[in-house]
Amino acid sequence: MASEYQTHEHDVIVIGAGGAGLRAAIEASAAGVSVGLICKSLLGKAHTVMAEGGMAAAMANVDDRDSWKVHFADTMRGGQYINNWRMAELHAQEAPARVRELEAWGAVFDRTRDGKILQRNFGGHRYPRLAHVGDRTGLEMIRTLQDHGIHQGIQVYMEHTVTALLKDGDRVVGAFGYDRERGYPRLFRAGAIVLATGGIGRAFKITSNSWEYTGDGQSLAYQAGAELMDMEFVQFHPTGMVWPPSVRGILVTEGVRGEGGVLRNKDGKRFMFDDVPENYRNQTAKDPEEGWRYTQGDKNANRPPELLTRDHVARCINREVKAGRGSPHGGVFLDIAWIKEKLPNAPEHIKKKLPSMYHQFMQLAGLDITKEPMEVGPTTHYAMGGIRVDGDTQMSTVPGLFAAGEVAAGLHGANRLGGNSLSDLVVFGKRAGEHAAKFAKDNRAITPAADQVEAAARALLEPFERGASASGDGEGPYKIQYELQDMMQAKVGIVRTEGDMMAALEGIQSLKARAAKVGVVGNREYNPGWHTALDLKNLLTCAEAVTRCAIERKESRGGHFRDDFDQKDPKYATFNNIVKKGPGGSMVLERRPIPEIRADLKQVIEENK
C-alpha cells in the first residue's frame, strides 16, 4: 500500500535556518522564486545564536591597514594552505558588504568613537576585524535575518526534519521528511535544494553543539552521491566550560582573550608564551606587556599568544592538563579578572564587554568572572570539512544540490579562524541562494520516482515497526548515541593515533549494525526517541568519514593532530581527502590534488607572510 504524505512544492528548498540557510532563503526569494525553508527547531533557535565573538570582515574601521588581502592571507595561513583559495578570496572580498547589509536590515552593532561599526581582535586575525554586539553577535545576526526574512514571502516549515534527498537521474529533485510535532511524513518537490544544516558536533561527547548537529546535511548529500571533503578536520575550541559536569563543553568565547584574558596553569604560569609556532612568531607579542597593549588597541603591538589559532591553543591546554599542570577539574585557568591591575573600572568593563559570559558563569557555575579565573578546556566546536562545493556557486557534485555554511567544506582548510564562520554564513549563504534560484529557473521541478518516495517513507517508520524489544535487549537509541560519542571523543578526538582510530572504525561498524536494529516506543507526536533513532544514521556516516580521512592523513595539520605523526608533512599540503559512496554502498576515499593557486593570490600570501 502506498504511504500517505503531504506534498509541498517550491522552486528552492533550503534545509536549515541558521545564518546560512536564512541568508540563502532571502537571496533566493529576492530573485523571484518560491522558497521553502525547513528547520528542525523553531525559527531563530539554530546554533548561530550561540556565536559570540563576532563576524570577520576587513572593513578597516578600527585599523586602516586592514584590507581583503590581509584577511585572505590570514584565512589561508590559519587553514594551513589547504583551503579552497577561491572561497577564501570571495569571502574576504565580500564580507564587508554582507556586514553593512545586516545593518541596513536592522542589526545594531557596537560603535567606534566616530560612529562606525566597531571591530575587535580575534585569534589569527592580524588586525581588529570582528564586527560585534557585545558577546552575542550570533543572536544579533540570526534575529536580523529572521526578522528580515519573514517579510519576504518565504514559507517556513518549523520543526521539520529531512531524512532523504530524492533524485531524478543525477539531479536532485526533492526531499522527504516529517514534521516533528505531529510526525506526519512530507514530500518536498523542488527545482534546487540548499543544504545549510551546520555541523557534526554531536558525534563527540564534549561539545559546544546542541542536539541538532547530527551531520544531517553531510549525510544526506553523501547518500545522494555527493562528495565530502576534509572531514578529518574537526575544530576543538580551546575554551569550553569544564565545571560543573552538566555544563561541560559549553562555549567560552574567544572574546575573553580578545579583551585581555590570559591562560594560566595551576602554578599560575602563562604557558602560552612557551610554544609559539614558527609561522606566527613575528606576529606574536614578546612579553605580557606587549600582549596587553595589543588588546587595548596599540597598533604597534603584536597579539598575545593566547590569540594564536584555536587548534594550537587547544593542544597547548591539552598538554598542560596531561602534564599534571591543569586546574582541579581537568582544565586550565582563563583569567579576565586580572585586568583590574590595568583598568580602574575593570568589573564594569568586563560586564559591558562580556555580558553573557558574566551571566553564564554566574548562573551555571556560581562564579564571578570579574573576581575569579574561569576553568576551561577544549570542546568540539566546528567541522571544517563537509560537502565539497564549487567556490563560486556553492553547488555540490550533485546537480541542483547546493551547500553553504558549516555543512560545506573549503573556506577554512585545516583550521577555521574565529569570526570567519559568521561571515562565511552570509557570504556563501547569499551565493548559494542566488545560484540555487538560477538553477531552479533553468530546471523545472520534476516529480520524484514513486519507488524512491516509498523507500523513504518506509525507512521513516521502521523504528516503530521494530518496537522497543526489536534489538533483543530492548536497546534504546540514546545508548548507541552515547557510546558513539564516548568512542569518538576518546579515539578520534584532539590527539589521534593509528591504533585508536582503527579501533574506532571497527566500533562504528558494530554500532551501525546495532543502530539498524534499534526500535522506539510511544507514538509519532513529538517523540524524541524516534528522532534520535533516525539521527543515528547521519551521525554514524559522519563519524566514519571523519575517522577514515583522519587515518589517511598521516601528519599533523590544523585541527587534525596525530601523536604518531606529530609534524606537518609538506607532501600532504597538496591534496584534500575526499569521501563518497562507492558502487557497493561502502565509503570510498580518494586524495584529490588541490588546484594550483592563482599567481596574484600567491603573491598576496607572500606579501603578508
Binding site: S41, L42, L43, K45, H47, V49, M50, R100, E103, A104, W105, G106, V108, F109, D110, R111, D114, G115, K116, I117, L118, V133, G134, R136, L139, E140, D147, H148, I150, H151, M158, E181, S210, W211, W243, P244, P245, S246, V247, I250, L251, P355, S356, Q360, Q363, L364, A365, P477, K479, Y482, V520, V521, G522, N523, E525, Y526, N527, P528, G529, T532
Partner: protein, 248 residues
C-alpha cells in the same frame, strides 16, 4: 549522589497528568539535565524542546514549581529537593505534548509589526554614523532570546486570552527595539494603539520579573512606548492642533 523526584506533566492537547520520576541530582545540575536523564533512562518519548543549554536560544521554557523559567538555567541546588520538583509546560499556550507547547501565535504576531526601514544613510558610501550611547537602548531589547516566558506570565494573554487584540510584552519589546533603533525611520505609534493593544498592559511588571535576559521590559520598553502613544493621542494641545490641521 542524592536522588530527587521530578513531577513532570505528561500528556497532550486532550489532557494529561503529572508523573513522578526519580533521578540522581548531581553537582551543578540544572532542571534540563534531570529531564534529559529521565528521557534517556526511563521515558525515551518524553517531549521537550531545547537547543543551546546555555540560556541563549530560549527553547526550553517551562514552569518549574509554578514559576516560568528556562530549564537550562535553573540549578537544582536552588530548588528544595526534599519535595518533588514539578515541571509543566507553559500554561498560556496550547499544549502539543508533554513539555512542548504550540507557540506559533508568537511568530504570526511578529509579522504584523512594521518591519525595520532604514532612514537615509549618513555617509556617501551608504553607511550610518551612530553613537554608542544611542545603540545601547535598542541593544538591551535585542538581547531577547524569544523564550516567550513574558508572554506566558502576562495576565492579558494567560488569563484573558486577548491574543487577537494584544501582542504581549515580547512584541512590545520588539517594537521598542525598532522604534528606538537610531537607523530606523518607520513609525509604529498608531499601530501600537490601534492594532497592537498597548493599552491592555497595566504595568504589573510580571514580564520583567521572569525575563531570563533581565530586560527591564516594563520600565524601559513598554512605558516609553505608552508615553509616545499618550503624546500623540491624548496630549490636548496636539489634539487641538490635529483638529485645526485636519490631521487625525
Amino acid at each position: 549522589m542524592a536522588k530527587a523526584t521530578f513531577r513532570i506533566w505528561r500528556g497532550d492537547a486532550n489532557g494529561g497528568e503529572f508523573k513522578d520520576y526519580q533521578t540522581e541530582a548531581g553537582e551543578g545540575m540544572v532542571v534540563l539535565d534531570a529531564v534529559h536523564a529521565v528521557q534517556a533512562e526511563q521515558a525515551n518519548d518524553l517531549a521537550v524542546r531545547w537547543n543551546c543549554k546555555a540560556g541563549k536560544c530560549g527553547s526550553c521554557s517551562a514552569e518549574i514549581n509554578g514559576m516560568p523559567k528556562l530549564m537550562c538555567m535553573t540549578r537544582l541546588s536552588d530548588l528544595d529537593l526534599s519535595q518533588p520538583v514539578t515541571i509543566q509546560p507553559m500554561q498560556a499556550f496550547p499544549k502539543i505534548r508533554d513539555l512542548v507547547t504550540d507557540v506559533s501565535w508568537n511568530f504570526r504576531v511578529k509579522k504584523t509589526i512594521k518591519k525595520f526601514e532604514p532612514r537615509k544613510p549618513d555617509a556617501a558610501d551608504g553607511t550610518w554614523r551612530v553613537d554608542q550611547a544611542d545603540v545601547e537602548r535598542p541593544q538591551e531589547f535585542r538581547k531577547c532570546i524569544e523564550c516567550f516566558l513574558c508572554q506566558d506570565v502576562c495576565h492579558v494573554i494567560r488569563d484573558h486570552q486577548k491574543t487577537d487584540e494584544f501582542i504581549g510584552p515580547r512584541f512590545l519589546v520588539y517594537t521598542a527595539a525598532l522604534e528606538m533603533n537610531p537607523i530606523d525611520g518607520a513609525d509604529r505609534v498608531d499601530d501600537l494603539k490601534q492594532k497592537h493593544g498597548i493599552g491592555y498592559c497595566n504595568i504589573t511588571k510580571c514580564c520583567t520579573k521572569v525575563c531570563p535576559e533581565h530586560i527591564t521590559i516594563t520600565d524601559n520598553a513598554i512605558i516609553p512606548l505608552k508615553e509616545r502613544v499618550a503624546d500623540r493621542f491624548y496630549d490636548p494641545i496636539k489634539r487641538l492642533f490635529r483638529v485645526f490641521s485636519g490631521n487625525k
